[in-house]
Symmetry: C2
Subunit: 304 residues, 2 copies
């Protein structure tokens, strides 16, 4: 596979990368595996159910920022999307958010039943660690960097990370009272995996501590900006572009950033977080930071 | 911590090891973590809900067979038990086996609700990989060996391993017809994690390929013997010693080894599998294979 074209617009870059990642993910659940076919089908169904593929794109953009090879970053990109996909399957379960549809398609448990959906999620999470290790086995990422990726993933997707954020969100539905609780949920439910994506992509290209620190700052900033922007779009967006009804947060009495601090302050916060994130990347002196900076702007300016 | 006493009987060895592993597992979910407390409590509840601790004991016995240090094997032992515990929490869910009690205690979802039980399982599985990496971070296991442990765990607990076995078991409840299907379920649902325990324990002590191969043979043999012995005890055991009603498999019309090949052939199979497993260990020339051999006999001769 060639490195992604550097003259593409950010929209083209996102589209091309998403397609490549989908193809690679499929290849990582080969038909030659002797496993029960409903399990295989359930895993593939959700992996291929679309989505922005934001996290794998951040992996590849971070690797590119350091002048790294797309090949070595690709297993990391796939692993990240597998973990994200598992989290969506489990979040949609009747005992959790009880969603029947995601992106216009029936959710995993509606198609395969709850038992297979739980197992498909468990399988994707576990297999993601295998895929991560392949950066070492097949693409020359040093063992210590690969092990640091495994450690980062286990922390940022685990009880102190994404799982903790999801638990807080579940509990919080009984009533969030302040901004710090809301930020805890956003940081862990979404921010942690964005930070993992950036750090692991950078590690695949041999990043040092300073660069990892800058990406951490960048990641938490654009992660929170992303969430606040979601809340803003729910209030001000175009239903056609969003592909879902607006003002659903209000109807569900969901406590959001605009609800707590107002729309104007929320918009100012998105801009501030994005600018500070970009500044952190610029100061770290990456060889090719363009895609990261473009992605930050793209996320801030999106209307869906 | 000192190495476990080598003059203990196997019963004392099992008891002492189980207590040590419980203490160490607790320390790996520290109170200082800033995570939602229902999540922490749900994870701890099932980790401390008892059980034979067979898998961590196999980890430590395999490390001991190579003359390795208990300290370096302990994170591996804890990681294995965390993965086993997550699998029990998810298996007990209403959508899976729908069990209200395990070892006389209410199951995780009966105490914490289904959502928290799913998340506690997800959290334990993810955290297990962190704990595994600590064998490298804190106890000098080389990065490549630690990474091989991560890879083994992701395969043997993943879609091709334990998760696949559980999926086959779910599907098989609609009717298993032959021995090969039953062996697929036993091999993956139970055997794979027993093999992982032995291999990872050995890796923590620097095992080579020949030794790992011998332990793989030993593990699949005693794993299958263990399952068949379970089926035999359900037919011939003492309810008092087992702590559960006998003949439950018959009542549930479960297809078992004795059902398919008869009681006598099943008993002969347990002996044969155990003997061949022990022979593999003896031929591999371990420095201190005694505990492994004792454990194989203990599992075959147990009456509960």
């Amino acid at each position: 596979m060639n490195d992604l074209n550097t003259t593409d617009t950010i929209q083209q870059y996102i589209k091309t990368t998403a397609l490549t990642v989908e193809k690679e993910m499929l290849a990582m659940i080969p038909e030659t595996w002797s496993i029960p076919s409903p399990l295989r089908e359930a895993m593939k169904y959700s992996l291929l159910a679309g989505g922005k593929r934001l996290r794998p794109i951040l992996v590849l953009a971070a690797a590119e920022a350091l002048g790294g090879k797309t090949e070595a970053a690709m297993p990391v990109a796939c692993a990240v999307e597998m973990v994200h996909t598992y989290s969506l399957i489990h979040d949609d379960l009747p005992a959790m958010d009880d969603d029947d549809y995601r992106r216009g398609k029936p959710t995993n448990h509606k198609v395969f039943g709850e038992a297979m959906a739980i197992l498909a999620g468990d399988g994707l999470l576990t297999h993601a660690f295998y895929v991560l290790v392949q950066a070492f086995r097949r693409f020359g990422v040093p063992a210590e960097q690969a092990l640091a990726m495994v450690e980062d993933l286990s922390v940022l997707a685990g009880p102190k990370g994404m799982v903790g954020g999801q638990a807080a969100d579940m509990i919080g539905e009984q009533g969030i009272t302040d901004l710090s609780q809301l930020e805890y949920i956003h940081t862990h439910k979404t921010g942690d995996m964005i930070v993992f994506s950036l750090k692991a992509g950078a590690r695949s290209a041999g990043a040092g501590e300073q660069q990892l620190k800058a990406l951490e700052k960048f990641g938490y900033n654009i992660g929170l900006a992303f969430q606040i922007q979601d809340d803003i779009l729910d209030l001000t967006g175009d239903e056609q572009k969003l592909g879902k009804p607006v003002k659903s947060d209000e109807k569900q009495q969901k406590v959001t950033y605009p609800y707590l601090v107002g729309l104007e302050a929320s918009q100012a916060k998105v801009t501030q977080l994005t600018d500070e994130g970009k500044a952190a990347v610029l100061q770290a002196g990456f060889a090719r930071p363009e895609r990261l900076l473009q992605l930050a702007d793209y996320l801030m300016e999106r209307d869906h």
